[in-house]
Amino acid sequence: MLDINNLTITFGGLTAVNDVSMHLDEGRIYGLIGPNGAGKTTFFNLVSGVYIPTSGNISFCGSSLNGKKPYQINKAGISRTYQVINLFKKMTVLENILVGMHTQMKSDFAASLFHLRKERREEEEAVEKAHQWLQFVGIDQRANDMAGSLPYGEQRLLEIVRALSSKPRLILLDEPAAGMNSAEKETLNGFIRKIMSELHVTPLVIEHDMKLIMDICDYIFVLSFGKKIAEGTPQQVQADPEVIAAYLGGE
Amino acid sequence: MLITLFVSGIVLGCIYGIVALGYSLIYKASGLMSFAQGDLMTVGAYLGITFYSYMKLPFFISIILIGVIMFFLGMGIERGVIRRLRRKGVEPIYVVLATIAISFIIQNGCQKVWGPVMLNFPSIFKTSTIQLFGRNFQTESIFTVIASFTIMAILQFFMKKTKAGTAMRASAMDPIAAKACGINVNITTGLTWGCAGCTAALAGVLMGPLYGVFSTLGSQIGTKGFAAAVIGGYGNFVGSIVGGLILGLLETLTSGYISSNYRDIISYTVLILFLFIRPWGLFNERTIKN
């Protein structure tokens, strides 16, 4: 599904991602780990179109994503969440989802300006669908609250479900468990599994919580200083001497 | 005629350049753009008339007084308005708008205090004209050219080579890191705006004898000075002067050979072209946008 070949990006003198190649198939939960500064978020930024690679290519479901803008990549079927919460804080929870559903709706300019009947119907259906998304993650009672007023854990969930509402085939989750307590992490664990099993969306998760990653993921990639140093099942990765060295050495 | 136009262009360009230096100074030390610079210049010019012409104080004393007043005015604006807004964390556009509002207040305030009629700024020098290349030029204009290059050199030296200048640059680039190094960010920022106020004042005093003094003096020249800063490279001192010279020459040559009606159109078109195609100016390096 996702093919990454020799992906490299250099900023000035620093090579943040160095000749990384990966292959992801549908139907598995993937993890991306590595010590701090390994280039994981930079990698996400490359795949989601925020950065343009210096060299290498990214291919998704057969078509190349190189040089595409973030909104085009979203349309192509990849959605993401961010390390720092990037919600539309002054809009309501429901509206956040509706924006996430932007590409799922068809009303163009004329229909919007003149409130044509097909636009009205589409809006109503969208609102219903948005409520369903909120119910999926259990925050529907907050639908009309300002997104910024939600407790931290719920904001994280909202960001994930907003990304899901774009109906992607691949979702990039950047440290979704950051700042969560163990109860919230349990919920997140089940939730990510649901994303795979019920929605058939493939997650690629960046995380520092090893317990969560090893428990959830079918396959893991390890980055260190911009290079991929290992990949494999959780057991294989845990036993890999290079991975152990990277984590211990990087303390 | 070409010679006269050329020298006039240089003089005008140096004025734009001094104003641009003020803008660049604020940007280099604050990361902000202040639309009020031009109008601070107007205040400087009016103060010049008040001290030098009305109160008959010696020129040197007047300059010092004006410098001090404008210094505190610049600092005051930074502390009273800019700092508050930054602390509030408003969108950067609001800071820009605040300086525009201040510029309006100053403009209108000047008009109220000194009247709407254009005032005459008496000559500073005993010799009213200097001969150059066989033509006569107002002494003040030549002085302006010398002054602008001098200020540019001083600022360049100060920013790059002195401790205080480095502190200012550090505060602008990363206030938190600067604080960690023991730099008092608030004071350095205030000082920079004060200095910018001074350069504006100087520009005003230099311009007074050349153009007369009126309340919209600053806004007209101010916008052009801003344009010069952008063209030369925002935050770059050499760029500010060069940008000013380019603009000044462009305007005077257009006035002379085509028509004075199209001066402004040419200047603003060049500005827009630079903004669209090369917003980092001539002398800056391209910055990677996030």
Binding site: L87, E119 | V90, S103, Q111
Partner: protein
């Protein structure tokens, strides 16, 4: 920012329409007051459109009077030199301004806030200069241009009261369009762009397109308002389209409150009344604008509407 139409809003609309219909009757003995009301309606259209640019998509234009100017001069000149009826020249001028706006917007939307201000100021100045010293004096230069009344289906709007009712209908039309935009997918995309354009991009919103679209819409509103202005006062000169007008639009919008229907109404009304009150001391106008603007930015960036909303919040909190 969300304002789903509820019963309270329906009441507000009713009040607005009733007050609007009744106003000229109240002032029937003072044609000058009706003229002021006409100004208010015209500015309301311009500022409502301006809100789409500033309030919805979070951009800035410090030279928006340029589109107001293109609308006015465009309609007047088109009618003068081709004889096309005013009703149509107004639309053509507005469409032309929209095209110009779109063209200028395309590179402008890339710029950050302060550069965008500079670029739009420059554009505003260029338009002003072109109108002030036009090639072949086609705009009449500083002497200005005289033009005629607008006629709707043969009915000539040659009194302030007649024009007023036409303007009222146009205001309702434009407000309806703005309202539809605000509550549609397009409007939401713009609001999201203002909130967080990176996240919006990541959610599939073509940020560039919607930013340009916001410019285009605001240009159309401003230009049509300008055309209305031209055929109301029937004499336009470059003086009416200086930088001060751009600042006035901005003050009206920020003072009233952005991204809303009633914000512009509040801002335009109050600032217009202020304009009238300052007529004897018109030299203080700029000072007042500056102070108002600064006040709004420093103390209540949400404008009057923002203050009202936070007061409502406090009351709701207290009740809980």
């Amino acid at each position: 920012m969300s304002a789903f139409i509820g019963n309270r809003n329906r009441l507000g609309i009713m009040i607005f329409i009733i007050v609007g219909l009744v106003l000229p009757l109240v002032f029937s003995a003072m044609p000058y007051a009706v003229l002021v009301c006409c100004y208010i309606l015209i500015y309301l259209i311009a500022v409502s459109g301006f809100d789409v640019l500033v309030g919805f998509s979070g951009q800035i234009s410090m030279g928006h009077a340029a589109y107001y100017c293109i609308g006015a001069y465009g309609s007047a000149m088109l009618h003068k030199y081709t004889g096309i009826p005013v009703f149509f020249t107004m639309l053509i001028a507005a469409v032309t301004a929209t095209l110009v706006g779109t063209l200028i917007a395309w590179p402008t939307t890339k710029l950050v806030a302060h550069f965008m201000s500079l670029a739009t100021i420059a554009f505003g100045n260029i338009v002003f200069q072109l109108v002030n010293t036009s090639p072949g004096r086609i705009t009449g230069d500083a002497n200005g241009l005289h033009t005629t009344y607008l006629s709707v289906f043969g009915y000539e709007l040659n009194t302030y009261t007649r024009f007023y009712y036409f303007a009222l209908i146009m205001v309702l039309l434009f407000m309806l369009i703005k309202y539809n935009l605000l509550h549609s997918r397009v409007g939401r995309a713009m609001l999201a762009i203002r909130e967080n354009d990176h996240a919006a991009n990541g959610m599939g919103v073509n940020v560039r397109f919607y930013k340009v679209a916001a410019f285009a819409v605001s240009a159309f509103f401003a230009a049509y308002a300008g055309a209305m202005f031209a055929h109301l006062v029937r004499y336009i000169s470059p003086d009416s389209f200086k930088q001060t007008v751009s600042v006035m639009f901005l003050t009206m919008l920020l003072f009233g409150g952005t991204a809303s229907m009633s914000g512009p109404i509040i801002g335009v009304t109050i600032v217009s009344l202020l304009n009238e009150a300052l007529r004897p001391a018109s030299s203080y106008k700029m000072l007042v604008y500056g102070v108002l603007l600064l006040f709004v930015i420093l103390i209540f960036p949400g404008g009057i509407l923002g203050v009202m909303r936070s007061m409502k919040e406090k009351i709701i909190q207290k009740r809980k």
